[in-house]
């Protein structure tokens, strides 16, 4: 990417001062998440959540979804914090906050599709990392949730250019980042990175956002980037993609990301990928339901 393209991206990202209807607690929360767990005070999190009534209500709804593993919806934020644990609650809160970032205008990438993919990828990242004893599951969830925020930037800052890329991807049935590259000369990885830096996200999350389509290029946190890369691919072949048919064969185990992840986590070898794929299908319905009820969207129109 040339420096002039980079400058254009930076300028346009600066101009989108506020994401659409993003809740005030969002950025403070992200900063809080950057701290290590011990430093985060439980009261602080409960206070942040309760700060915004709508957010608090949504949090309780999300926490009650089977995806977060509670049999009964929690009655209070404090109750949720106690039974789910602080870190799980933070990821739930983050999910809600991002869900609020809803556009007034139509996006080139249908927001419902985008959120299903992001939430789906977050869930797959967590389930996948749960198979690897040494992985940080909540971190994996967060990385999955945020990996494609560059698409948000594209919809807001480059609506015309990105609409063309989207159209090309749908027509030629090629991966979206390839269509971005050939029509715009840059991808959501670059725009996402600029936003992530502006938001001062943690380094490993920035690495995921910038390199999830080219794991080898990442200087940092390669195993996490690899995990997101693989989960993203898996989502896109199981009905949680970008809303169109991607005409290609995906060989996850031969993907360089698999080897990178395996190097760090030997227990990857024992993962039954087929069964994992079937189990992921079981959660697709949940994800659709969660996105439409919590984020107030109409049920799916597009498949894949």
């Amino acid at each position: 990417m040339t420096t002039s393209v980079n400058r254009t991206i930076r300028e346009r990202v600066q101009r989108i001062e506020t994401m659409p209807a993003i809740p005030a607690v969002f950025l403070p929360l992200l900063r809080l998440l950057n701290n290590s767990v011990d430093e985060v005070k439980l009261d602080e999190v409960v206070r942040l959540i309760s700060y915004d009534g709508a957010i608090a209500a949504q949090c309780l709804r999300v926490a009650g979804s089977p995806l977060f593993g509670m049999a009964q919806p929690p009655k209070s934020i404090k109750g949720a914090v106690i039974s789910l644990g602080l870190r799980r609650v933070e990821t739930i809160l983050l999910t809600c906050c991002l869900g609020q970032a809803f556009p007034a205008k139509k996006w080139a990438l249908d927001p419902a599709v985008f959120w299903r993919h992001s939430l789906g990828c977050a869930m797959v990242c967590r389930k996948f990392s749960e198979k690897l004893a040494a992985a940080d599951h909540e971190k994996a969830y967060m990385a999955g949730l945020l990996h494609d925020i560059g698409f948000m930037v594209n919809c807001l800052a480059f609506p015309k250019e990105f609409a063309m890329a989207m159209e090309r991807a749908c027509q030629e049935e090629v991966p979206l980042h390839e269509a971005e590259h050939s029509t715009m000369g840059f991808t959501h990885c670059e725009t996402g990175r600029v936003l992530a830096e502006k938001w001062k996200l943690a380094d490993d999350i920035i690495a995921v956002i910038a390199h999830h389509h080219g794991v080898g290029q990442s200087q940092k946190s390669q195993p996490l980037v690899a995990l997101v890369h693989l989960s993203d691919l898996l989502c896109r072949t199981r009905g949680l993609g970008y809303g169109y048919y991607e005409r290609r064969m995906v060989d996850l185990i031969a993907d360089p990301a698999w080897a990178i992840l395996l190097q760090e986590h030997r227990d990857l070898e024992g993962v039954d990928l087929v069964r994992f794929t079937f189990e992921l299908d079981e959660a697709v319905g949940e994800i659709h339901a969660l996105v439409s009820t919590v984020f107030g969207l109409a049920p799916a129109t597009a498949r894949t």
């Binding site: 072949t237 005409r247 087929v274 079981e282």
Partner: protein, 302 residues
Amino acid sequence: MTIVPQPPVAQPAPNKSAETVDPVYRQIRDLVYKVSGIYKAEEKLYLLADGCARRMKQTDARTPREYWDRLTAAPSRDAELRELLNEITIGETCLFRSQPQLDALRKVILPEIVTEKVKQVTKRLRIWSAGCSTGEESYTLAMNMLEESERLLKGWTVEILATDLNDRSVETAKAGIYGDYALRNTSDLYKRKYFSTVDEKRLQVRPEVKKLIAFSRLNLQDDSKMLFMKGMDLIFCCNVLIYFDGASKSKVINHFFSDLNFGGYFFLGTSESLMKLNDQFHLVHFPGTIAYWKPSLSSGKL
């Protein structure tokens, strides 16, 4: 399977939610997966439960727990597992059963094979439907290939080999006569184009579709015959290996591997897994479906 599939007796109740299912069924699900590679997803557990319920009647098991004992304790174990597998796979088959498989075939695999073989003099595509039962899958493949005959496959010869152990199934398959239930996924377009009417209830596959297929009896465990099935581009073997024990399964899979051309694909049923029985095949994903790939020589992945 000797009879033409009929609708399952008990119709699925769509509102039965996962929570109402006895946890024993999850244990049975895991057992079935372990021995057969068939995975019944959470939302399809009621189908497994229905299958078990019918078997429980037959075996006088009063509770799912008791039935679990029948499934796990010698001497009834092996026979009962077989019965249960029959129960949960019967009546599943129909024409156009898996659209994602057909999409992968026409959108990704065919263009790939056509490009790979472009230099060859004879443009020939060979497909094997192994354990074809009453022919639904074989005809579905044939019709889809005919759809491509004016485009991707212009100038190509397509041969479909359809084999099954069971003579009666093979005979039924040859006749190519199907009722509403088998045709429930078949669009009107295909019905008009590739079928003729037999009577009010049944349609028959037209001769131009049949022409593509050679039906015959074949036991997949017959090693001498399996050695001669060379030069395949695609093998479909859906819900057949589920009855085989580990050793025979991996023997058959090794045959499939050597019977396939480089760059060829092997498909199982949509909820079926090869598990870790073969490490030469690459497990690959297409939208909505998985397959096993014998890497092409040009891919450098052998």
